[in-house]
């Protein structure tokens, strides 16, 4: 009787077993786990230095500062203050990201003292002339992609999950991204970006991860290489700080005009 019961129940139990999950379910699970482990940092501030390199290797440096507010049940709010090049100093960019509807974005132009609501439809365009697109640096909500687990792989000595993700938001410049997710940190260590023609466009490699507040892993440096143009951008994160008490009020249009 016991045996009969087991035989009857076993097929019903099987789908719960990890090995029987579809590749799509596995991919989504990995994304969910990564998201779950990165909850609770409340707010984050950092300096960002970008070094833009053209095909000839000539460099140009961009400095800015970014503050981000974790928002429960919605995408993050962020404020980017541009410090250089000197002619755009004081320009600031406020964005409210959303998982399913379009992001809200405002740009503050200091010469005119004008706050402009701008279209957030431009996801794939370059951020400050760099090889990073807006969609590469905005907050990564689970619902922005569909996922598929590909394989396990050891990358530079680290065990990784390799998953593929497909942008679900409009106006993405990519058909798909292949993400190498570190198994220990549950953070990406490498991403291959495929353009609208499904040709390899860019590769992003993360370096110098450090753990903050005993939980949250953040990269020290990100290297983006454009394979089609030969241009590259180094994005260096400096002076990370967390839970400094930022509030919604620090991410409104009054604060945008006050950002220095």
């Amino acid at each position: 009787m016991k045996r009969l019961l087991l035989t009857l129940l076993l097929p019903m139990l099987l789908p719960l077993d990890g090995s029987a999950q579809t590749a799509e379910e596995q991919g989504l699970d990995i994304a969910r786990e990564a998201d779950k482990r990165d909850v609770g940092w409340r707010d984050q501030s950092a300096h960002i230095q970008m070094v833009l390199r053209n095909r000839q290797g000539e460099e140009s440096v961009r400095e800015n500062r970014m503050q981000t507010l974790e928002t429960a049940g919605d995408g993050d709010k962020s404020l980017i203050i541009f410090d250089s090049p000197a002619d755009v100093k004081g320009t600031a960019f406020l964005s409210y990201t959303h998982a399913t509807v379009a992001d809200d974005q405002w740009l503050y132009l200091p010469a005119l003292k004008r706050v402009k609501r701008v279209s957030s439809a431009n996801k794939s365009g370059p951020f400050m002339g760099s090889e990073f697109a807006y969609e590469d640096i905005s907050s990564q909500e689970i619902d922005k992609y569909k996922y598929k687990y590909l394989r396990d792989e050891t990358l530079d000595g680290a065990a990784t999950f390799v998953i593929e993700r497909y942008p679900q938001y409009e106006n993405s410049g990519y058909t798909r991204q292949v993400v190498w997710m570190d198994k220990k940190m549950y953070q990406p260590v490498k991403i291959d970006y495929y353009d609208r023609k499904d040709e390899l466009l860019k590769t992003l490699v993360y370096h110098d991860y450090q753990q903050y507040l005993n939980q949250y892993w953040r990269p020290g440096r990100m290297e983006m290489q454009n394979h089609q143009t030969g241009k590259s951008t180094t994005l260096a994160w400096q002076e990370y700080s967390f839970q400094s008490g930022l509030k919604d009020r620090d991410f409104d249009q009054n604060s945008l005009q006050r950002a220095r």
Binding site: A86, S119, A121, N171, D195, Q253, R258
Partner: protein
Amino acid sequence: MGVALLLPMQGLAAGPWSGSFSTQWRGYSHAGDGAGDTDYTSVAVEPDYSTQWLDRRLLFTFEGFARGGSRDSGSNHADLRVFSLNYAADAWELRAGMRKVFWGVTESQHLVDIVNQTDLVEGMDGEEKLGQPMLDLALIGEWGTLDMYVLPYFRPRTYPAADGRPFLGLPVDTDHPLYESADGDRHVDYAARWYKSIAAWDLGLSYFAGTAREPRLLPQVDATGASLRPYYYQMRQSALDAQATYGSWLWKLEAVYRQTDEPAYGAATAGLEYTFADIAGSGVDLGVVLEYLYDERGSQSAAMFADDTMLGLRLALNDTAGSEALLGVIYDNGGDGHTLSLEASRRVGDHWKISLQGLAFASSAADAPLYALRDEDQLQLDLAYHW
């Protein structure tokens, strides 16, 4: 080792001082009717300082402006654009001093924007503003932001001198302005604006009571000859500005209702902007702007744009040099003329910026305000060093 580690960090903090030095060349295609020349060169400096205290709640900002070296006396001028303290609490902010404030959403003209006086010597497009002394209390809540302004001192509009350009047919007697109010430039003006973003909508409602920023220019003849004398009347302006942002579409409206010593009237600018972003994966954006400009007073009045259509093209290469250009034409629907404008700029290296601005006017109707500018087509080149 310690020093080596510290040095790059110091470069990170945004220094309190920044600004620009620039040199400008401005040329005119026609000799014109006045005593002006066909080209002018000048230099300008615009220093900028800001610092914060009390855990960033108290902010001081200074922005100066000075232009010199030009052959015409009017272009050489200095102004305190901003000299201001801003205290930020959770539910309010208090701002006091010389400040600049911008209201509005449209591109072709700024009807709603009224707090600051226009510096017409610096630019005929009206985008350059003089600093305005003010006290601004902003109340901030879930219901939006309500700014309440006291503007204790009036600043008259700057106009090119008799030996400068553009020439408006007669020189403007800026030394002897007339005021409707017996208080003259000491008349205290009041203004308020409420604004809020609701999903895809950005809404603003505003009110202004005080001295009009744009004077009537009254012809006069005195011992020195004929000139135009600015008359600053009292005005009450109620206004709405709204923008809806849906995908690549921006829908914009500015509407004003003005009560003066003459019959009250309404004026509006309504239009749209569509951006073709990242064209074919090139990173290049092309925006198309279409706006309709309306003034109830009609084209036989002081209204520059009474029944006009503006078509603009905005190109941004999004390259390392930040190259961009804006081409616009404002066409009088009654066939009285048109205004062409071109603005283009790009960075050269990390500190230099080169800008080109062109304006061309065509007018066939001698009674249209635009007619006075028919010989004032100009091209302006600026080379600036930013630090």
